[in-house]
């Protein structure tokens, strides 16, 4: 028997199972968007492809999303350091920024639509709406999770427990993930056009 087998604890993964489950679901979201961007590359290479100018409002929305990630992280640090005001205040700001991101994306779609690049104009536009739309749906899922976190923050007594810290981390890591996912998608849409 090797030494590792003698000490069973060395096999135990220290990560909390719910957090691990979340990371596993990231893998599946990555595969989903990976499939869409691969299909995009294949179709792009096959020709019959209409180029369009990315409306600059998408850069604004990107900034808002990055800011929201920072704000949510500040809220988490506030929670860990038992600063109740920072925790609750920043949580609400993050919620508002999350909604703002979706509104800005919607405006971006309207600008594109007005410029003649509607959903059916060309496969390039269809891909743009599908990819950004599916991403916005994931953002709305995150907003829902933040809403639950807000309800917890304002209804439960303010105690820092391990269980609540893990719960907060689930929301936080998901939010960072969809943030990074958006940066990838935007960079991809700008590079392959």
């Amino acid at each position: 028997m090797s030494t590792t087998a003698m000490n069973p604890m060395s096999f135990r993964n220290r990560i909390h199972p719910h957090k691990f489950a979340l990371y596993a679901s990231f893998a599946s979201i990555i595969m989903m968007f990976g499939a869409l961007t691969s299909a995009y590359i294949v179709k792009h290479a096959a020709g019959d492809w209409l180029e369009y100018k990315m409306p600059s409002i998408f850069y604004v929305s990107t900034a808002v999303l990055i800011l929201s990630s920072i704000v949510l992280h500040t809220s988490y640090i506030g929670f860990k350091r038992k600063k109740e005001a920072v925790y609750k205040g920043m949580l609400i700001v993050a919620f508002i920024l999350g909604i703002a991101f979706v509104v800005l994306q919607y405006q971006g779609w309207q600008i594109l639509f007005a410029s003649g690049m509607d959903l059916k104009a060309n496969v390039s536009a269809s891909f743009l709406y599908l990819i950004t739309g599916l991403h916005a749906a994931h953002i709305l899922g995150g907003v829902a999770a933040i809403t639950v976190a807000i309800i917890h923050a304002f209804t439960l007594p303010f105690i820092v427990t391990e269980k609540r810290r893990i719960r907060f981390q689930l929301v936080l890591h998901y939010w960072h993930f969809v943030d990074i996912l958006w940066i990838y998608l935007l960079a991809f849409l700008l590079l392959v056009k």
């Binding site: 000490n7 604890m9 489950a21 989903m32 299909a39 179709k43 599916l134």
Partner: protein, 618 residues
């Protein structure tokens, strides 16, 4: 000393506090807060053992429907002239009666073929097989109270149930269910006006399978997390029984491949409902050119088969895992080459992602690209052969108990060899020019992933039936079930190889008007008769199954087979939480059979002073 260390780490580890092996479960082992009433216990249950039974019984329901469909279209193929008026009460307007002779309508024939494939592949062999046994065995064999998230696990079943409801409803549409083949290729799937089943039937098919993807993902995330995080003390990865390895890799495959199918489905939904052209280009319907340009139907095939090929391993890997365990237990021998078995499961899992285009050799993909896929496809034969060799070597010199579970496990090996060999033919892109879309393909995949996976499932059901229902199934009926199914399955699919080599195309409604294929009529009749016999003996199995739940011989001892794994250390009627008191710890691998003169040594028995581990590699 290591115990002291372990104790200390326990206190730090919140995992252990919440659901680990020393989890203060002692006082409430008979039922828990979830099982307070009938609905909580049997319907919206979060107990993995109940959820496993739900998956199994739902799977059986779908298997009967799917198989009955195949009987109807086999009647059409075997006896095209026969009068089918007698099934009119069931199929209604799909049986067209002319001059007193009822015939199956061609539209519905295609719908039956499509639904047979969809139901068997997704609802029976994915949900019914991996859903059942992953749920039952993962927590029991690794020593966990339940899944990492019992709630998500429950949702996984109910999403599957919902997917089934939508699909079931689509069977009764006046335009019929989807009829464009289980692969759902555009344009038949992308244009609602393309055929009668392409309208509402296809919409419901898409909704149903999207719900099914959600179910698979929720289940898969849970299985992976449970295997990696909730193993009991001493259960290292290299001591896990082989079914757990198989379910683990299966779940990883599902987690990585089903989202890709979901992407394809989203694009298909856009094409159907919103007028985009991801998969459509230059289409004419009834002489009218559509304004859909710029898309590519091949793109869907890539997305579909990127799921579709791992999917066949999602189906066969759990069967392989189950068979490895059953063979070892009933041969009273350690599984031969445990490590090689694990590595070959991993190798098959990896290779399954880089062979998808062998389903598309004739779709117009670049022949140069095909070479790449031919090579990787043929390499899969290596880990598969390793597994077959190890199964046979496990049997060699064993003290074999020929019970129903063991017979089906041996039958699995036979089927896997027969079906696997024809895979080597089809994996070659040059031979595929002749073989593609013929009955040779039908014979190949039915034997290797249809019948073989069913044999694995039957082996599992017979073997773990006492664990699920605390009773045994009837052995005599089980053996009749096995022999008729084995001989019958070969009788159905062996002749199809000849049909395929002669060029008989699959999916055709009738061969009467083809001079080249007409003379195969008697062979088709023979196949149909064999199919009816095999179908009736499955009904016998279902009767045996439900009869035994209530009236079967009772399980009187915890470990009736003398098996080593942890599921046989639980009480005969185990409640939610599986073990009263502490979870047992594990001291050895799962296959110490016939070691040092002892017939079997369960995993919970500590190693003796100076004892060598049975798994020599460690």
């Amino acid at each position: 000393m290591s115990d002291v260390l372990t104790q200390k780490q326990d206190e730090l580890d919140i995992l252990i506090e919440e659901q680990g092996y020393d989890d203060h479960f002692h006082d409430h082992h008979h039922g828990d807060k979830y099982q307070s009433n009938f609905i909580g216990h049997y319907i919206f249950s979060m107990d993995h053992k109940i959820i496993a039974r739900q998956f199994l019984i739902t799977g059986i329901f779908w298997a009967i429907i799917g198989a009955a469909m195949s009987i109807v279209f086999r009647l059409q193929l075997g006896f095209p002239e026969a009068d089918l008026t007698w099934i009119k009460p069931l199929l209604g307007k799909w049986i067209v009666v002319e001059n007193g002779i009822g015939t199956l309508s061609p539209e519905f024939y295609y719908a039956l073929v499509t639904m047979h494939g969809t139901i068997l592949v997704f609802f029976v062999l994915t949900a019914g097989l991996s859903g059942t046994f992953s749920n039952l065995l993962i927590p029991l064999q690794i020593g966990a109270r339940d899944m990492a998230s019992p709630f998500l696990n429950m949702l996984s079943y109910w999403f599957f149930f919902l997917a089934g409801c939508v699909m079931f409803y689509s069977l009764f549409l006046s335009t019929g269910p989807f009829s464009g083949g289980w692969t759902g290729y555009p344009p038949l799937s992308a244009l609602p006006q393309a055929s009668s089943g392409s309208g509402t039937g296809m919409t419901l098919w898409l909704i149903s399978l999207t719900l099914f993807v959600v179910s698979v993902l929720l289940g898969g995330i849970n299985y992976i997390t449970t295997v990696l995080n909730l193993r009991t003390k001493g259960m290292s990865m290299w001591r896990m029984p082989l079914p757990i390895w198989a379910f683990f890799v299966t779940a990883v495959l599902g987690l990585l491949s089903f989202p890709v199918l979901a992407s394809g489905f989203f694009m298909l939904m856009f094409d159907r409902g919103l007028g985009t052209s991801f998969f459509l280009s230059e289409i004419f319907i009834e002489g009218q050119a559509l304004d859909r340009v710029g898309g590519s139907p091949i793109l869907f095939q890539h997305l579909f088969w990127f799921l579709g090929h791992p999917e066949v391993y999602i189906i066969i890997l759990p069967a392989m895992g189950i068979v490895s365990e059953v063979l070892s237990v009933h041969a009273r021998k350690p599984i031969f080459g445990y490590q090689a078995m694990v590595l070959s499961i991993l190798a098959i899992g990896f290779l399954s992602f880089i062979v998808w285009a062998h389903h598309m050799f004739m779709s117009g993909v670049n022949p140069f690209l095909s070479n790449f896929f031919v090579v990787f496809t043929l390499i899969i034969a290596v880990p598969s052969a390793v597994k077959v060799f190890n199964w046979i070597t496990t049997l060699y010199g064993g003290n074999i108990r020929f019970n129903s579970a063991m017979l089906f496990a041996i039958g699995f090996v036979s089927m896997f060899i027969s079906g696997g060999l024809t895979g080597i033919f089809l994996g070659n892109s040059a031979i595929d020019i002749q073989m593609h879309d013929t009955y040779f393909v039908v014979a190949h995949f039915h034997i290797v992933m249809g019948i073989a996976a069913f044999f694995g499932m039957f082996a599992g059901v017979y073997h773990w039936f006492p664990r699920m229902f605390s009773r045994f199934m009837n052995e005599t009926l089980g053996r009749i079930h096995f022999w008729v199914t084995l001989i019958g399955a070969y009788a159905i699919f062996w002749p199809m190889h000849y049909l395929g080599i002669a060029g008989v195309p699959r999916r055709y409604y009738s061969f009467d008007t083809f001079d080249a294929f007409k003379h195969f009529g008697p062979m088709n009749q023979f196949i149909t008769i064999a199919a009816i016999v095999v179908f009736s003996v499955q009904i016998l199995f279902v009767i045996n199954f439900f009869y035994s739940i209530f009236k079967g011989r009772k399980m009187k001892v915890k470990n009736p087979y003398g098996a080593n794994t942890l599921e046989w250390t639980t009480p005969i009627e185990a409640g939610h939480g599986n073990w009263p008191g502490k979870i047992p710890s594990v001291h050895r691998w799962a296959y110490d059979y016939g070691k040092d003169g002892k017939e079997f040594v369960p995993q919970i028995i500590p190693m003796e002073e100076g004892e060598q581990a049975g798994d020599a590699a460690h």
